[in-house]
């Protein structure tokens, strides 16, 4: 490992889905700026993220977002040590905008380039607000595209313990929200409405995956909700939406928490972190917090601004990759299905 006496300033760029983001992060933990340009309002018209529109917005917004990140951090590009960028997983056209921009800047400014895995970025978001957090720890990554139960063995070293066999947890939230008529994005809307409902009103199934106690399956819960809605419509029964989404959310939270606790109990884990967009869900946070407290396990969760897609988390992850010696070439490509822990 190299010995770094001087501060390492990372300029990080993220464009994997519908947020154009740039950030300056010092030594992997201190965020000097965190600029996010969200396109949610545009994609709401289409009921979900439209990849081509997302890519078009990224190319319009990327320069101003980067300028703002440098300005707010009070640094020039010259003072930046390394440029970090998300190169997967995500929407390929969207990723390519950030990757091409970052590579060209690294080339012209003669800075090293470090490609970052988006989900590893989400996990690294926990380092930012928790200076004491160091691997090893267990992490639950839950977002619109991912549901992973992971052992973080060291910086940049991951062992995937469990994963979803079908829909990601966030995907199930979005689909149920659409079916109930709440619209996009589903997560925050369900979270809000569920507070007014009874989580035990309807008993939805908790699917187990045979011979894989840590794996998840959410398509069954989603289908059960859709069937319930159909059933009510046919019988002309008025649906209590608050009860319905509260019960659905409870089933998803239950599935997530039970597997996390199985891992904690089996491997005697002392530190547990959550990450990803769904980590903002208040019911999930509360349930994990309570279960961890019962077991004397320290629970870490990023604040909501660091749960959503952002570049500060990419900067945090890029720092540890940089320290390890990771460098990417000018031929770095976007990899839409990059695996967690995979290195290209």
């Amino acid at each position: 490992m190299e010995n770094h006496v001087e501060d390492v300033l990372i300029l990080a760029i993220e464009s994997s889905c519908d947020e154009t983001a740039a950030s300056v992060v010092k030594n992997g933990r201190e965020v000097l700026s965190n600029i996010i340009n969200s396109q949610i309002a545009i994609h709401t018209n289409y009921g979900g993220v439209v990849p081509e529109i997302a890519s078009r917005k990224h190319i319009e917004n990327i320069s101003p977002v980067i300028s703002m990140a440098l300005k707010e951090a009070g640094v020039t590009l010259n003072e930046i040590t390394v440029i970090g960028v998300t190169y997967g997983p995500g929407l390929v056209g969207a990723l390519l905008v950030g990757v091409a921009m970052a590579k060209a800047m690294a080339f012209a400014a003669k800075k090293p380039l470090v490609g970052v895995h988006h989900i590893e970025g989400h996990i690294a978001a926990n380092y930012i607000e928790n200076p004491d957090l160091k691997p090893p720890f267990a992490a639950l990554v839950v977002s619109g595209g991912h549901t992973h139960l992971v052992m973080v063995e060291d910086y940049g070293k991951y062992d995937i313990i469990g994963r979803t066999r079908d829909d990601a947890a966030g995907e199930a939230f979005d689909k149920v929200a659409r079916a109930v008529g709440l619209g996009y994005p589903g997560g925050p809307k369900i979270d809000k409405l569920a507070k007014e409902g009874n989580p035990h009103a309807i008993e939805f199934p908790r699917a187990n995956v045979e011979d894989a106690p840590y794996d998840f399956s959410f398509s069954g819960i989603k289908s059960a909700v859709l069937n319930y809605l159909n059933h009510c419509e046919m019988k002309d029964i008025k649906v209590n939406k608050a009860d319905l989404v509260a019960s659905f959310q409870n089933a998803v939270v239950d599935a997530l928490v039970s597997r996390a606790m199985l891992l904690i109990d089996t491997r005697h884990i002392h530190q547990f972190a959550i990450a990803g967009g769904v980590a903002s869900n208040s019911a999930l946070r509360l349930a994990l917090q309570n279960e961890c407290a019962k077991r004397n396990v320290t629970f870490y969760s990023p604040s909501p601004k660091l749960c959503t897609d952002n570049a500060a988390m990419i900067g945090a992850a890029a720092y540890y990759e940089y320290i390890k010696g990771t460098r990417h070439g000018y031929d770095l490509n976007a990899i839409p299905n990059l695996k967690l822990g995979e290195r290209v």
């Binding site: 018209n45 289409y46 439209v50 081509e52 529109i53 890519s55 078009r56 990224h58 190319i59 319009e60 990327i62 320069s63 101003p64 980067i66 300028s67 590009l77 390929v92 056209g93 390519l96 905008v97 950030g98 990757v99 091409a100 921009m101 970052a102 590579k103 060209a104 800047m105 080339f107 012209a108 400014a109 070439g329 000018y330 031929d331 770095l332 490509n333 976007a334």
Partner: protein, 235 residues
């Protein structure tokens, strides 16, 4: 004036460095590898081969469309990144006009065509008057039928450039009523040197642009926008 020119609107990836006197380096590749993997290594290569200190570049010229949506964005983002880091200005170059510059000062009409799929072409019609490119048809998205009918109405001798030649050759052969020919491949393909030379002409005429403002000119809305538009029309 030193210009770095970038062209990645279709399968051809091409980069060039031009001074006032000559094209000091040009690198063109037409291969299946993605622009994401080729474009910047090619720029790196020609800069090293030509001993070009990046600080000495004055302008970054990018072929901004129409063309492959992703290809255009890779070219534009690459240009923006370099311009941002070096604090240089950019020139947004209309792709089909730059292609017409492959046949600079020909006495015939030049019709630039790119395959836009679904029996459509991105196309423009040009001619030269006293050494200046004149536009007869602005860059447009037209069906084979629409373009050929416009050319037949103009009724002039025309040379086609661009990969649209191969996509639409049967239709053109069967329906063109006026004299025409297809340019040989070395003149029919996109070339960064043409982008650079034409960029110099545009710069002298209109000046340069701030890199943050450069966006591709797709000439075609995304499918989702099209469908939403149709839905709203039906309402």
């Amino acid at each position: 004036m030193n210009i770095l020119a970038i062209e990645s609107s279709a399968i051809t990836a091409s980069v060039a460095i031009l001074t006032d006197e000559c094209v000091i380096a040009e690198y063109t590749i037409h291969h299946k590898k993605t622009h994401s993997q080729t474009l910047l290594p090619m720029i790196d290569e020609i800069c090293r081969m030509a001993d070009m200190n990046l600080e000495n570049l004055n302008l970054i010229a990018v072929s901004c469309g129409p063309g492959s949506f992703t290809g255009l964005r890779i070219g534009v983002a690459t240009g923006k990144g370099i311009a941002f880091a070096l604090d240089k200005k950019m020139i947004s170059v209309p792709t089909l006009e730059a292609m017409a510059y492959n046949l600079y000062n020909t006495e015939k009409y030049v019709c630039s065509v790119m395959d836009a799929r679904r029996q459509h072409l991105y196309c423009g019609i040009y001619y030269y008057k006293e050494g200046e490119l004149q536009t007869k048809l602005e860059q447009s998205l037209l069906s084979y039928e629409e373009l050929v009918s416009i050319l037949n109405n103009i009724n002039q001798s025309v040379v086609f450039v661009g990969d649209g030649i191969y996509a639409a050759s049967d239709y053109i052969k069967n329906n063109m009523m006026c004299p025409y020919e297809f340019a040989p491949v070395h003149l029919a393909q996109q070339r960064a040197s043409s982008v650079g030379i034409y960029a110099k002409y545009l710069y002298d005429k209109n000046g340069a642009q701030d890199s943050a403002q450069i966006v591709p000119n797709y000439l075609r809305p995304s499918q989702a926008e099209r469908l939403l538009g149709e839905k709203e029309c039906q309402k």
